[in-house]
């Protein structure tokens, strides 16, 4: 359920064809009431249904955040397990292009700090399929953060992924590219940037290991730390505000668990600490570019100042 998901085929066409296939009892167009339909979704989940609630963008989920946190995330705990909330909140998250401050914020860190929620950030098509299936089947409330610009990108898909019961485990990161000199962690769209950065670094003799986090909560600390213990260097990458961000949590985890293995200070790449501006030049500078990641990796390898 959500705004424009049925007849209109979805504001970004993600729910295309679903109304035709499953009918109006299962695909619901809602009025413009984020708080309303989030609450309705949670209520339906309390009573045994498995709703998938779409926010046109997670920027609008703030009008419903009370239901996500206080009605969905905490209910199982507060009811001593009597109430289960198998709801999925999904939608576009993070920066797109030229859409300004109220359409560009990334909510990974906000939702990622809340116990009771699971927070997923798919990158590739396989991620999207496997993680969404896992999210819907999961008995806990899941926040599923997609990305508007990734909707238009194509990825190779294995035969296994096309199977109808293909699920990816929640809480496991994926090593997109193996390397031995520096670990780069990223999620969602910036995984693509990190991979491009790794290509550039390879030409200069630096072998970067790129980790696609896939799961913000639970965070796969084991994979991250194992990688840092191998490479001894860490660069975390995320799109928006640095303070209290995902990168901050990863750095803390690595410093706590793998301090002795580090050969260089950890590097955090994040967006500018400003609401996203619209003007094309200002926007470009508010968001990390591939070159920023390359330079950070080189700094950890003492190849530049």
């Amino acid at each position: 359920m959500g705004e424009e998901v049925g007849e209109y085929q979805g504001a970004y066409k993600i729910t295309k064809g679903l109304l035709e296939k499953y009918g109006p009892e299962r695909v619901l167009d809602t009025p413009i009431t984020e708080a309303g339909f989030a609450g309705i979704g949670v209520g339906a989940a309390y009573w045994g249904l498995r709703p998938v609630v779409e926010f046109m963008t997670f920027n609008f989920s703030m009008q419903a955040i009370d239901h996500i946190i206080n009605s969905a995330a905490k209910s199982s705990y507060m009811s001593a397990g009597q109430i289960s909330v198998p709801v999925v909140f999904r939608g576009a998250n993070g920066a797109a292009a030229g859409v300004g401050a109220q359409h560009s914020q990334c909510y990974a860190a906000w939702y990622g700090s809340c116990p009771g929620l699971k927070v997923l950030t798919p990158y590739s098509s396989e991620d999207a399929r496997g993680l969404l299936k896992a999210a819907i089947r999961d008995p806990d409330p899941v926040v599923f953060l997609e990305n508007e610009l990734l909707y238009g990108e194509s990825f190779p898909v294995s035969a296994e992924a096309l199977d109808s019961s293909f699920c990816l485990p929640i809480g496991k990161a994926k090593i997109e590219r193996e390397g031995k000199d520096v670990t780069i962690t990223a999620f969602s769209k910036l995984v693509g940037h990190a991979l491009k950065a790794a290509d550039i670094l390879a030409k200069e003799g630096i072998s970067a290991e790129v980790i696609n986090l896939r799961s913000i909560r639970p965070l796969d600390r084991a994979t991250i730390n194992a990688s840092v213990r191998k490479t001894s260097r860490l660069v975390t990458v995320e799109e928006v505000f640095p303070q209290h961000g995902v990168g901050a949590e990863i750095c803390a985890s690595v410093v706590e668990e793998s301090f002795d293995y580090l050969d260089a200070p950890v590097e955090r790449i994040a967006g500018a600490d400003v609401p996203m501006p619209y003007a094309a030049n200002l926007e470009r500078m508010a968001v990390p570019q591939v070159e920023d990641i390359v330079r950070a990796a080189k700094r950890t390898c003492f190849r530049s100042r």
């Binding site: 705004e3 424009e4 007849e7 209109y8 504001a11 167009d29 009025p31 413009i32 009431t33 984020e34 708080a35 309303g36 920027n59 609008f60 703030m62 009008q63 292009a97 030229g98 859409v99 300004g100 401050a101 109220q102 359409h103 500018a272 600490d273 400003v274 609401p275 501006p277 619209y278 003007a279 094309a280 030049n281 200002l282 470009r284 500078m285 508010a286 570019q289 070159e291 330079r295």
Partner: protein, 481 residues
């Protein structure tokens, strides 16, 4: 005039006249109307009549300042009349009559609330209609601005299609709502738009160049390139910057109006909302609090039938928005939004009421969203093309108003074609200039986050400038750094 069909009304009227020598304004207190008592008793057939809304009346009476303590006393007196029947009960909300018969209030009226209209489709004045007279000067400015808005929309929309701006939203079909309401307000009245009201800014003096600069996000944009297109704002013109989340402007409007009230300003707040936006929780909060705080705010709901692809029949089940006003204790009216004279008159009157009586007013303007929701939408996917064409050709607000000014002898074919040629040229030029103008400088990336930039932002700006200097090849040419 009311017909004194019950003792209650007669007594109430007498008390109004006696208490200050003047009649209460056009408000029909539903407790005093002939149907009031039957409503309290629960209704089936008898309630299925249109309540006498102000819009059915002739020109409004003199208004008096609304003082809540006085109202309280009057309510008690009023219900004292009811209590003569020996059937009144005392509850926290006041006295209410009771009935042994259980009857439900029906969910809808047989007859919908009628809409106030002055001109017919040809621009002829409807017999029996009355409206606020305007000078030739005002009428021609209104018409000019409506045509300018049309041209601006058509050409900017095209510019988005050509990839020159990232996004645009048109106001086609709602030119009268935009311009006529703006014309009826004072410059001091603060306007909180939703996003389909650039005409109000246009009326107040925002130039075509200003609009173009905002859409292109260049250095001359008053908004410093911060906002996506059509998210205009101008303190100078008393027009609050457009904010994307729907309906948040409604409780904000109540708050601002309350501050005007405390400062005893001769001004009101005007908040716009669409039909879809009334589903948001903030609609309830905004209207309810404006009523309780007795704040001078005019809520203008542009009911154009569509919220992207969601038709109003899927948005709510009430008789539109006008009936919701009474639920909050807010005076309301339904107006033909394609009729510039009707909109002008209704808003002018609403403003008088809001300011002199210090109360909120709800105006529902009925219209049709002739354009797509935005450049990200293709409305032919969910509504028939001939329906769109019908409204564009046969029910067009601009054509209708032109009919009226032509019949008054204030406008001619010749002036029409001159105007069109001139405006088209101006709009095209504004776009060309805006496109060539430089983007905002780097300093504007970090300014205005706070009143004074904190240390971490100053550091970030320094680091950024150093990095750009050190690695110029990584930064695209053509952007000012």
């Amino acid at each position: 005039m009311w017909s004194a069909r019950s003792k209650a009304i007669g007594d109430y009227v007498k008390r109004c006249v006696c208490s200050n020598g003047r009649f209460m304004a056009g408000l029909v207190d539903h407790r005093s109307n002939p149907f009031g008592s039957s409503l309290a008793s629960g209704v089936a057939e008898t309630s299925r009549h249109a309540l006498p809304f102000p819009c059915n009346m002739a020109a409004p009476f003199l208004v008096r300042r609304f003082e809540s303590t006085l109202a309280g006393k009057q309510l008690e007196l009023l219900h004292a009349g009811d209590a003569d029947d020996d059937q009144a009960l005392d509850f926290p909300g006041g006295k209410v009559t009771y009935t042994p018969e259980m009857k439900f209030i029906w969910e809808n009226y047989v007859k919908r609330v009628p809409c106030y209209r002055v001109l017919d489709e040809n621009g002829d004045q409807i017999m029996g209609s009355n409206f606020k007279e305007m000078s030739k000067e005002v009428a021609l400015k209104m018409y000019n601005d409506m045509v300018t808005l049309q041209f601006m929309d058509t050409i900017f929309y095209e510019a988005q299609r050509q990839g020159r701006i990232s996004f645009y939203m048109t106001t086609i079909g709602e030119e009268a709502i935009n311009i006529a309401s703006a014309a009826a307000l004072n410059d001091d009245d603060l306007v909180l738009p939703q996003y389909r009201e650039p005409g109000v800014l246009l009326w107040r003096g925002f130039t075509l160049q200003d609009f173009a600069n905002q859409c292109f996000g260049n250095k001359d944009d008053g908004g410093k390139g911060r906002q996506m297109p059509v998210h205009y704002g101008s303190k100078k013109h008393n027009y609050l910057t457009v904010s994307s989340p729907i309906a948040t402007q409604l409780p904000q409007a109540a708050g601002i109006a309350y501050s005007l009230k405390m400062d005893k300003q001769d001004a009101c707040v005007v908040a716009f909302i669409g039909d879809g936006g009334t589903s948001e929780g903030d609609f309830h909060a905004g209207l309810n609090f404006a009523a309780v705080m007795e704040a001078p705010v005019i809520f203008i709901c542009r009911n154009n039938g569509w919220a992207i692809s969601t038709h109003i029949s899927e948005q709510f089940r009430s008789d539109g928005i006008v009936v919701k006003g009474q639920a909050y204790g807010i005076r309301s009216i339904r107006v033909d939004g394609s009729d510039a004279l009707a909109v002008y008159t209704a808003i002018h009157t609403a403003r008088e009421m809001a300011v002199s009586e210090q109360r909120p007013v709800l105006v529902e303007t009925l219209a049709y969203r002739i354009g797509h929701h935005s450049t990200s939408d293709d409305s032919t996917k969910y509504r028939p093309l001939d329906e769109i064409e019908y409204w564009k050709m046969a029910r067009n607000p601009v054509n209708r108003f032109r009919g009226w000014i032509e019949k008054k002898g204030w406008w001619s074919e010749k002036e029409e074609s001159e105007l069109r040629i001139s405006i088209k040229k101006q709009v095209l030029q504004a776009i060309q200039v805006a496109e060539r103008t430089e983007k905002p400088p780097i300093a504007e990336l970090f300014s205005d986050v706070y009143d004074q930039p904190p240390d971490n932002l100053r550091e970030q700006e320094t680091e950024l400038r150093e990095t750009i200097n050190k690695y110029p090849q990584d930064y695209p040419s053509g952007f000012p750094f």
